[in-house]
Symmetry: C2
Subunit: 436 residues, 2 copies
């Protein structure tokens, strides 16, 4: 039996096709003789020409400045400003990195002090993106867990943030709040009202806000809409809009483009003290610079083809088909999961993942204990071995005591997703029978 | 007046052309429809096909494993083994990274312990590659300086290593020795005998050896030859060959390829304890993975076209012309510099840089003091402003008290280099006149 792997948030691995426009421009940047070719659309050639003239030595093979190619920082800041309905954005606040995982790490380095008497704490959701927790651990910082409310579709509640912060007193010095919106692994998308409350809380408690918004392009749940922390902060006006320190993260890895392997990310730093900005520049320069290909991909994300451009029809058709797939999966996958006995799934609003809850029979839980595994990890192992479906267990992301979940990536072609759910259902029913 | 910048070690920025074979394969990997085109040689298409089939999802846009694409780890380890005349190399010991600067940092993370009573020390040459010293500082480690012998063409002497290590006792816990061979900024290439002595010293003192060999492809000085630390270590036989811990670094940034912007590096870890290797894997996974384009570039470096391949003639012509330029510059630039009064330059054996000494008039030194600058930094500023030549001052790399140097990159087309030296000479003579 062939294994179907829906454990990664890696669109191309999952079967999505790269966008033709993106790949044509990158190919032409690598081998500019192609610009002569009549096989490439005019706008592709033009774009490749202007990107190359923004590279030192006219080559993607030259180092860039440590914060990135200035032309691309400008494109990205214009993109942010358009996305946020005109809220200004400064190119000097944009730092390009080798993927947003690396930006997260570098911003954490700004925040974490190892010489202090208490370790540095960062408020981090449960469940949450695992690599962020590893990054904190690597730096000797402490995860301050706050729980998302599963019954409310994994919403974030300020009361819970307050509790978590209070509980951390004396254990660590909590300086920052990490938010993933749209959520990973939850598929939740925060409302403007929620974001306002979170910002007000951060302001009161003088917390640095880290807004991980890498899934901003994938918000297709009914009635949900992506609003950035930057936009809400700006619209809340002074004094908050001038004082709350915010880092907002985005990536070429997710969304329609899905170019994980190129390692392109950026972070926008807002309201930081000029001395801290200078220190940030030093920290970001430890890698020399971000990979040029990833930087170029972010420029193409910021400026996709527009109606009237020769590349537009193909681009529109490709992105619309990805969008149709996501709209379909976001509505349909939770529905199917909710119809399997012993599984419940919150509605999905955005991002790439669903995180259904498993009600495992007591006998299965005991069995897992005997083999020394977390019950949902053991479940995943069985699912892989018996049904050839690879998913990740809830224990990796964190969950409330005694509950179990799995994470599935829905950025997956519909036919593949159908097969996954069919196999999962059969396996699960069989599993329930065996252990009850 | 146009500025000529020979301050970077960035071949494409300096005017070198990318290798056609490399760029064609990369373009075809980005846009596989090109494989259909009749514009690309057959071997390029074949190579693109096999590289793509080594990528998950058949796309350069997928994440790879944290240590790299296995197929490329194998290519690299075969390359190492061929380079070293058959000394075996294991793919599991190869870690692909976002440039060798990043590998240096990650290996340092393995070595630096912040919880200890004394800071971790690393023996580091004076003069030395600056970003390595910054990396040490970022990690809270201590630079333990050892001086290269300028009169001996910047050779490394074990007696001096012993002195430096001794002097560090009580100040830090020195655990590693960092060696750059071929040298940056010195242009020195170590002899097999020197390497043997250094290895024996490392073994006696139980030091971890970090061999930065990113300039291994550029060794063209008369009578000099690149021999890797790995090869010498292996040929020294047991017990040393099985015990001395060695990390050897290489990069896609330098050599004929010169693809700095792609961020591709690798490190080979030799004789590490299996537990440390597992810890290394964890540390290297903090970035998720290295950029795929950089990894592909390293594969192409490891397996260039061979005689008989359709791409070979162009490849051979391009690399031969780069080689001719390097051979010419390596011999001719020190000669010209030595003919300028008040400048002396050691013979150049390899690498990308010359590091001539400036004998500055006392009045110029006083003048620099008045403006609060290091004399050679001030000299560089004048050279840039008055002659439009950008070089770097010796003070950035470290030098013995009271001496002054500049660093020039010689991976620069001959006509450009001629203009640089002409301007430098005129400026320098004028400068001497003004201050004496
Ligand atoms: C929430 C979140 N943030 C950041 C990342 C890192 O993405 P990248 O480093 O590829 O930009 C991921 C990857 O899955 C993610 O899910
Ligand atoms: C000696 C040495 N090591 C490492 C590097 C880093 O190169 P990269 O990170 O581009 O591979 C350089 C760059 O100039 C260097 O001179």
């Amino acid at each position: 039996m062939d294994v179907i792997d829906v454990s990664w948030g890696d669109p191309h691995r999952g079967g999505l096709k790269p966008l033709t426009f993106v790949r044509q421009v990158l190919a032409a940047c690598f081998y500019p003789e192609l610009v002569q070719s009549d096989k490439l659309p005019v706008d592709v050639k033009q774009r490749a020409r202007s990107l190359l003239s923004a590279c030192d030595g006219g080559s993607v093979g030259s180092y860039t400045l440590s914060d990135g190619i200035s032309y691309i920082q400008c494109s990205v800041s214009n993109f942010i400003s358009r996305r946020d309905g005109g809220v200004p954005s400064s190119p000097e606040n944009i730092f390009m990195t080798s993927g947003s995982q690396r930006s997260l790490m570098l911003v954490l380095k700004l925040l974490v002090h190892n010489q202090a008497s208490l370790p540095t704490g960062v408020l981090t959701a449960v469940p949450s993106y695992t690599a962020f927790k590893s990054a904190l651990q690597t730096l000797g910082a402490t995860v301050v867990p706050y729980y998302l409310d599963e019954e409310q579709g994994w919403a974030m509640e300020v009361e819970e943030l307050r509790r978590a912060l209070q509980a951390s007193k004396g254990i660590c010095n909590t300086v920052a709040l990490y938010v993933i919106n749209p959520g990973n692994p939850t598929g939740h998308v925060q409302s403007r009202k929620c974001i306002e409350e979170v910002i007000r809380f951060a302001a009161e408690e003088r917390l640095f806000l880290m807004a991980d918004e890498v899934y901003q392009e994938s918000v297709f749940g009914e009635g949900s809409e992506f609003v950035s922390y930057k936009k809400v902060l700006s619209e809340m006006g002074p004094p908050l809009s001038h004082t709350v320190e915010l880092a907002s993260f985005h990536s070429a890895s997710k969304g329609f483009m899905g170019e994980c392997g190129l390692r392109g990310g950026y972070v926008e730093l807002v309201n930081l003290d000029p001395a801290v900005m200078r220190y940030a520049y030093t920290i970001f320069s430890t890698d020399i610079c971000a990979p040029v290909t990833g930087q170029l991909a972010l420029e193409l994300m910021a400026n996709p083809p527009r109606p009237g451009d020769p590349s537009y029809p193909v681009y529109a058709q490709e992105t619309q088909s990805i969008q149709a797939m996501l709209v379909h999966n976001m509505n349909w996958v939770p529905e199917v999961l909710n119809n399997i006995p012993g599984i419940s799934c919150q509605p999905m609003m955005g991002g790439a993942f669903v995180f259904p809850r498993l009600y495992l029979p007591q006998a299965a839980i005991e069995k897992a204990k005997v083999v020394g595994m977390q019950p949902d990890l053991w479940y995943c192992k069985q699912l892989l071995e018996e049904a050839g479906v690879c998913v990740r267990p809830g224990c990796e992301y964190g969950q409330t005591e005694g509950n179990h979940h799995i994470r599935l990536c829905v950025m997956t072609p519909v036919e593949t997703m159908e097969e996954v759910l069919k196999r999962l259902k059969n396996f699960h029913l069989h599993f329930l029978k065996e252990f009850s």
